[in-house]
Symmetry: C2
Subunit: 371 residues, 2 copies
């Protein structure tokens, strides 16, 4: 059976130490017992991880490729993550760089349902960057949020999304917010003839979320925002493969920062916000843009965008979505950096426009066209 391969960056003195550590990872992530007590036969031959190669990347840094059996994973996404980086997440100096699914797991994990092309079809925005204002702040009532959404949709937004801090609080409970914002966006769409999608933040108590997702669909939502750092990546997968749900999924990076901010721990930016999101089935992956309130570098942001859109990646290419630092003034720069296949979020600074909030969206659209 074709095995899947994880590439780890190991911070060791040289090839010898890295090879020893790689052999340790191969055991740790599978049988979790000392090498000398591994049962002969199936467990030893198939289940134990195999170190395929160890190569010097630069002084003090090696790349180890370790292969694992699809049997270790079944069709379970949480268990795939467990094999990739479960206990190894607790060891220092190991970073996940890449994942090659192999043909067996590629059949089981097919990635995004919509991807770039599907989201463009639904928004009827065949070319150019997609514009996505965020409705907030937390504490507002549903009518206030619906009014902001209406103005944004009327001005030509492609996607209106909830702030990730809007969950099921009494000020604007999920169902009420969903109904009112869906109605507001539908009204704008009737007036413009456009196809703006509203994506509510699918949040609250985890027991309610699949019902909430269906409720959102019935209300006319155009997709959902999901927070895998809080609810687990399997919620994304569950929605992506649910035949009756069938809407695009946008993922939010909240609570995931600790996986990428250390140079020697966790995942690379591209692996976390590109590869893992595609693996789970996200269509749009949000991450903080360079130059905003978060410390991602331009190179890190570009690596994420490339991992989202790489044709050789898992399933369909998906849309990177830049959070923060966006304005009409920066449209040219952002277009040069990310190209057209990206979703540009417009956040808190939008509220400065007050009743003229639509103008910010029109300005950005115009700036994209002329850039």
């Amino acid at each position: 059976m074709p095995r899947f391969v994880v590439t780890y960056r190991i911070f060791a003195s040289g090839i010898e130490e890295a090879s020893e550590r790689a052999a340790g990872i191969a055991l740790e992530q599978t049988v979790e017992i000392p090498r000398d007590v591994v049962p002969h036969g199936y467990v030893e031959d198939e289940i134990v991880g195999k170190v395929e190669s160890v190569a010097e990347e630069e002084q003090g840094r090696q790349l180890a490729r370790i292969s694992y059996s699809p049997d270790s994973v079944s069709d379970e996404l949480p268990q795939l993550l467990n094999v990739i980086f479960g206990n190894s997440s607790i060891q220092k100096g190991i970073k996940v760089v890449d994942l090659e699914l192999g043909s067996t797991l590629a059949e089981r994990f097919r990635g995004a349902r919509f991807g770039v092309a599907g989201v463009r079809r639904l928004t009827r925005r065949a070319t150019g960057g997609l514009i996505s204002p965020v409705i907030k702040p937390q504490g507002s009532d549903a009518a206030t949020l619906a009014d902001i959404a209406y103005r944004c949709a009327l001005a030509g937004a492609d996607i209106v999304k909830d702030d990730h801090g809007l969950t099921d609080q009494h000020m604007a409970p999920f169902k009420k917010r969903c109904e009112m914002v869906c109605a507001a966006v539908a009204r704008a769409n009737r007036e413009t003839g456009d196809s703006c999608l509203y994506m509510p933040n699918l949040a609250g108590r985890s027991a309610d979320l699949m019902e909430y997702a269906r409720f959102a669909k019935d209300c006319g939502a155009g997709g959902v925002l999901v927070m895998p750092g809080l609810f687990g990546f399997d919620l994304v997968r569950r929605l992506a493969v649910d035949a009756t749900f069938g809407l695009p999924i946008m993922t939010h990076p909240t609570f995931l920062g600790s996986y990428v901010l250390s140079d020697t721990l966790g995942f690379t930016h591209a692996a976390m916000f590109g590869t893992l999101q595609r693996l789970a089935g996200a269509d749009i992956s949000i991450f903080p843009n360079v130059g905003g309130r978060f410390g991602f570098s331009a190179a890190e942001c570009i690596s994420i965008a490339e991992a989202c859109r790489d044709l050789a990646g898992i399933g369909r290419p998906i849309l990177p979505s830049l959070g923060g630092g966006m304005s009409a003034e920066r449209a040219g720069e952002m277009k040069r950096m990310y190209g057209d296949d990206a979703v540009f979020l417009l956040g808190g600074s939008l509220l400065r426009y007050g009743d003229r909030i639509g103008e910010a969206i029109k300005e950005l659209r115009k700036a994209f066209h002329s850039a």
Copy 2:
């Protein structure tokens, strides 16, 4: 309404910079808009985080206490985590140190159902350290795992737990494994008159887990192992508050390492493996012991054990559970380090004993008594 307070360690040049950063966190974790556009009234007065104090901890390191409204959280654990450290997880130089729930949230988040006293009652082990062998390796069939469990229970184990790499794979699917191991442990208990608890690893596809939990209970399982890093902390809470489930919950640290291993990111060891586990409702919190394959220091391990058992913590005191590095030779040292209210895991090295696996457990029990 009494607010809850999060203490953050901020790595800044001094009080002035730390105060600015704290003000930024207070906005970021709630309204996520610039200060000058925060709506007056309820949002400004209640929802926006309030910096309660900023104090120098040592050169280059400050402690900021920020209070938040229970309205921001409702009764949702994921949203509580979102407010504590959602987007701030993506900013460098911020570490969560402490959480004070306040009386309002303390009513909503009541912690462990069993805790130290409850687990002692169920295991009928009134005094002394609890011994918990782990059945493995992944790739074994259910009969093999049941046989290991039987031998361990017969020898006086208090808790037999699944390795966290056993999920729902075809080699030993959850239900089959659960039935066979429960039957094996029940047989041992009939022979010994003891009350060894079997805790299967509640894993597979997230959609199945609540049904699997009930299935485990019906089979006679004595609790479940849960992996919050993979399935979200809300799965722990859901089980802890489910009136019909009503079994102890043991949590595993897999996939959570990236939150604690950097000095300047994530959570302190005590906050992650003590406070958050109690908040979610775990009764037993596993973490890697000093001296094993993982890099936690003795001081970090002790800080976790203290956070688990602190009488002033959230809900009932719970049992710290040490993974790795345990043997009869180290029993005295471990007892001095952790005291009696702890669960000592016996992992892969157990398999070295082969058919005499029970002897390892008897030796450890004896060593505890004489230590």
